[in-house]
Subunit: 341 residues, 2 copies
């Protein structure tokens, strides 16, 4: 029996439930407008470790193990851990997985990882391959900055279109049953590259992928933007968000009233000096696991389309003259009496 709907979407009739989530953020994110929705705010962005990379790993470990505890489960109950991150060879995920007794599926989707991870996890649940699965990802401003851009000590100037990598980790545990928000559709994206080569303008590089995946999701499902209470992109920032809105309008979708970008919302961009907004795998991970999941649980949002967006370049690729390819994956999460159907 095929679960395919349209060209790029699958429909999950078993409605895999998101039975618990944990979001953990750094001090700066803890001073932002969404602070009260996060489960744990660190007072120290090293989290007691001696490197930023190790700090990121411990955050991811905590997000995963806390989610499992919240779901009243043990590691042995979870059949797969899906995780990836931004660091070379995804070491935050690998080393977190070393300390967690769960079969591990490593992913790389840059900042699209939370939706990639949640989408795959949901399919694995719906396919009958698992009883429980955890989907997760993380990022850290200081580990990302020195790996992708320049040593922190250089104090590089940041152009207005630059984004600030979120220090944070998010995890979601999926189960088969219970009165929880559930996943109905997954739309996986194709790689799109419109020739942007400025690594300080990731929003513009990723916007075409977001547009393509949202448009394809609506086409495949026969829904319109009006069927959603919320469409949330991962980390396009102010500029990428504006481009996405405008490009979708050209295709006949006016998402303005229901559209947020996690990168724009997680910081007070002006006051906190983050220019175009937040970015990083952790950005959409903590906003989905924290703010959006809690809004859905409380009934304030009944149907959300979450769309994490990733910029798939590396410093080596950029040095070799490559432009920045983008990707976006979308997952539809629903809960409660829905007025739309």
């Amino acid at each position: 029996m095929s679960k395919r709907i349209g060209m790029q979407t699958v429909k999950l009739d078993s409605k895999p439930r998101i039975i618990s989530t944990t979001s953990i953020v750094g001090p700066k994110e803890g001073e932002g407008p969404l602070a009260k929705y996060f489960d744990i705010v660190l007072g120290d962005d090293l989290n007691g470790q001696d490197s930023f990379e190790k700090a990121e790993k411990t955050m991811l470990y905590t997000a995963i193990t806390e989610s499992i505890k919240k779901a009243k489960l043990k590691e042995e109950d979870i059949n797969y851990m899906f995780s990836g991150d931004l660091l070379n060879q995804t070491i935050s995920s690998n080393y977190a997985a070393r300390d967690i007794n769960i079969p591990f599926i490593g992913l790389y989707g840059a900042c699209s990882t939370m939706a990639e991870s949640l989408g795959l996890a949901s399919m694995i649940m719906d396919g009958g391959f698992a009883n429980y699965v955890v989907a997760s990802t993380s990022s850290h401003f200081s580990s990302a900055e020195r790996q992708f851009r320049a040593p922190l000590e250089m104090g590089s100037q940041r152009p207005p279109c630059a984004q600030w990598t979120v220090t944070g980790a998010g995890a979601m545990v999926l189960g088969k049953e219970g009165n929880f928000p559930y996943v109905t559709y997954v739309t996986n994206g194709k790689v799109k590259d419109y020739g942007i080569n400025d690594t300080n303008n990731m929003g513009a590089a990723m916007a075409p992928a977001a547009v393509d995946t949202i448009k394809q999701h609506l086409k495949d499902t026969g829904r319109t933007e009006k069927d959603y209470d919320l469409i949330a992109t991962g980390d396009l920032g102010k500029i990428g968000k504006k481009l996405t809105e405008e490009l979708l309008k050209e295709y006949g979708y006016d998402i303005k009233d229901i559209y947020m970008d996690c990168g724009e919302e997680i910081f007070d961009c002006k006051k906190q000096g983050v220019n175009s907004g937040g970015s990083g795998c952790g950005c959409s991970a903590v906003v989905y696991s924290g703010y959006i999941y809690k809004k859905i649980l409380s009934g304030k949002i009944k149907r959300a389309l979450i769309v994490s967006t990733g910029a798939l370049m590396s410093p080596t690729a950029s040095f070799q003259g490559e432009t920045i390819p983008g990707i976006a994956h979308a997952v539809s999460i629903e809960f409660g009496g829905n007025n739309h159907e």
Copy 2:
């Protein structure tokens, strides 16, 4: 309906078929003992490109697109492309995916990627989410060496336990029907770290993971080593292979007669000066897609367990004093009248 068997294994009753494969290797691999089993042998390891990274990407692109052609399909027929590689931010896969019109799921499993990719692809097929899927990966000696170890120009000495990253890319197209080799079981591994910190001794770092996954697979399925004509690990090399054999013996499994390691077989280790053998994601990818797939097709092997093994460290993690975690994923491939059942 649950497809779970034991703790870490799933059984795929629909038997996803591997309907075509392509293996492409560099000049050195083309002089090795398995040369005649590879579909394409490059005369130039730059493959006409101006960097090794770009060369690797073009090899991966060719492996994928040739497999699709061989299967008499078009890119639009394929629902998902699963791929990952060793390079920072998996750029070979990302940039290959940019040129291929298929929704892309990026993976990172280091040298375990071929079995990770094939396993996930098989589950997605069996779950009813796809009509056709492509699973793939690549590596390149020169892009890996300068990223993980030292500039090639340094001419670093290689200790006897060192392995030589295979220049190669492999791809497999999966479909629902036809008289082709098929996947019956997938066993995903947990991360194992026994404290090895010598990045020139990856075989020893990965062996415990291989042992754990093979043992768990046999336990979960109720099979013994005698039920397989072949157990093939990815790239443990001579030393890791020996360790795996010995450790499995301690658990009561004597795999010696049916055991090969792709890393040991792809080169004539002594003559070709590769010390302990080949390594890299491309190693198991080309040996499975080339040698093993063809042996299965011809009826010489009726039931194979392929076990790709990955070392999940990064240079940054090593510099920060971390040891090397390993992982192994196993996929059971069968075909033809089997004498075992």
